[in-house]
Symmetry: C2
Subunit: 334 residues, 2 copies
DNA sequence: CTGTTAGCGCCTTCAG
DNA sequence: CTGAAGGCGCTAACAG
């Protein structure tokens, strides 16, 4: 496929009148090389525009600078934020992320993990704590560190970085109760696929139960979250249950849609109906009345995971659970 | 770095009582292998959980299944959308994207291109038509197909897929003039870094000039676009120029911020002040009054670029410019 | 249909 | 400080 037109170490060595290994050492700042030799080599490298072949390097040294990253989705800003965090830590380290996207499908995840592992990555970063048995087997056998992101509600394979979504759901109920709300509604999306939304929902219902309350009505979409869906579902929910005083949404995308429904229907957020989201997206905070929500620290999750891997890249490392926590954002809609 | 605990072709070959090359052929569905042999080999592979080492495979065959993708940013949904398009085309092809993010910095781009090329990718996908000389040299010398995305306002290296941002800016002026607007304002972000925003701005001003009009006022931020920035800048602009009848924003994020400013300040979009964006993001269309904007076809751009590469992966292919066009979305804010 | 031979480009190890 | 030999795991090319 590739035209064989690129230079090799041997070409550089020939022109610089040294051996291949000397060029290799210069390029990797390894061992000691005389300054004069180094400069001569570097001059030749620049002049030829030589680019090392890392494929060969990886094969020879049995270790790449790639980090496999498996994310469920890129449709929403949440995972790009995680990715930015990963990038931020990796930027100056020489490591390079290789991304795969599962669309919340565990079999796709399995294929991606196999495919990424075949590149001999230095570490793997995956999302969530649930995977197929074969995925788990491959990851364990790979001998590299594994970071599982977003969630800490189940035991991790190695490193887990994230927050308790169950607790966040529970705290949502408590927080809203403390603010005086009693008649709860819920608007959500596909919990089969989005496990973390499911954990929050469960925690939320547990919270209500602990308070001696229950959910008066809910509207749930059998698909991914979106602003448009949140807008429509809130309309449907209110048509059935006009007497709610607060509606909790599965995330901010949905909640912003809810706010838009209120605008269009002449409902005053908080005054007439309180709205509560999850994620703490910019868009919610830029609304005329900032959205009341829970801020998940997505950038921090990615950044922390990559840092932990860089810190002790060797497997097996110390198994760790890192709780990045969350903030309740008071906002003005609840 | 990696523990040497994974099986090799030789291990599989030994257990299946065939030669390495036979295992290799079975795994790649290459050449003809007797059904009986194939089954025996596959059984052993599954039982051992053997995962091929693509690093070695790539070195031996001088061709990887990786496609280097260099994007300027992931902070906004635009480039994740492009990435989804790329994924969509690549999904069943066996190719795998490797992502780099430049933060709109050309030197970072240069480093990333070098780093990605060192993995012997089957193709490279980059953003925009302007790169450092060294980046261009490396790309040309790589011998793989190069797709430059988003923009078709300058001559491409190989394949260009995108739209004319200059034309979009020009058409914005024409469209708004036709709708009766005469007193134009502009709210924008860092044009030094975001070239395409700069092209649109230029085209917009050219359009105004062709109409015998000029920009009455503008507010520009020396940083990346955001909803919050759009909101604040519109406030500032109106404080200085109260008599505008339409404001064009550098993109939808900024424009949605503008709409939020209007909500907060009691200004009725369109009736009191028209607002116009660029991108056609979901969020703008989910507003109580859908944003008037130009829809860029981001998913299509990524999808088309990847398809074109798959269609004729060999370099040099036919140099091509593919105009994915755009739609003016009438909306209700202009 | 199956096997043998000879590298791919680089890095590790061991000598100078 | 520099070099020579050998091999990483796989596959192209050529036998049988």
């Amino acid at each position: 496929m590739n035209v064989k037109n690129s230079y090799t170490l041997a070409d550089v060595a020939l022109r610089a009148e040294v051996s291949e290994i000397t060029v290799s050492r210069v390029l990797r700042n390894k061992a000691s090389v005389a300054d004069k030799t180094r400069e001569r080599v570097l001059a030749v490298v620049r002049q030829m525009g030589y680019v090392p072949n890392r494929v060969a390097g990886t094969l020879a040294s049995a270790g790449s600078n790639l980090i496999g990253v498996v994310l469920p989705s890129l449709s929403n800003i949440v995972f790009p934020d995680v990715l930015r965090g990963i990038h931020a830590s990796l930027a100056s380290s020489g490591y390079q992320p290789v991304i795969g996207v599962t669309d919340y499908d565990m079999n796709t995840e399995e294929e991606l993990v196999a495919s990424l592992l075949s590149w001999q990555p230095a570490a793997m970063i995956v999302s969530g704590l649930h995977h197929t048995d074969y995925t788990v087997a491959m990851l364990k056998r790979s001998g590299v560190r594994i970071a599982e992101l977003m969630d800490i509600d189940s035991p991790p394979l190695d490193i887990a970085v994230g927050m308790s979504h169950r607790q966040a759901g529970y705290d949502t109920a408590m927080h809203l109760h403390k603010r005086g709300y009693r008649r709860f509604g819920y608007v959500g999306h596909d919990r089969e696929r989005d496990e973390r939304a499911a954990r929050r929902y469960e925690g939320f219902r547990e919270g209500l139960q602990a308070l001696g309350l229950s959910l008066i009505g809910e509207a749930t979409l059998d698909g991914p979250s979106s602003t448009q869906a949140g807008r429509e579902l809130l309309g449907q929910l209110l048509a059935q249950h006009a007497n709610l005083d607060v509606v909790v949404f599965s995330n901010d995308d949905m909640a912003v849609g809810g706010v838009f429904h209120c605008f269009a229907a002449g409902i005053k957020p908080r005054e007439d109906l309180a709205l509560f989201g999850f994620n703490g997206l910019d868009i919610g905070q830029a609304l005329p009345q900032p959205l009341s929500t829970i801020l998940s620290r997505r950038f921090l999750i990615g950044k922390t995971a990559a840092e932990m891997i860089l810190q002790s890249p060797d497997y097996p490392g110390q198994p760790t659970i890192c709780d990045t926590g969350y903030d309740i954002v008071e906002g003005e809609t609840a």
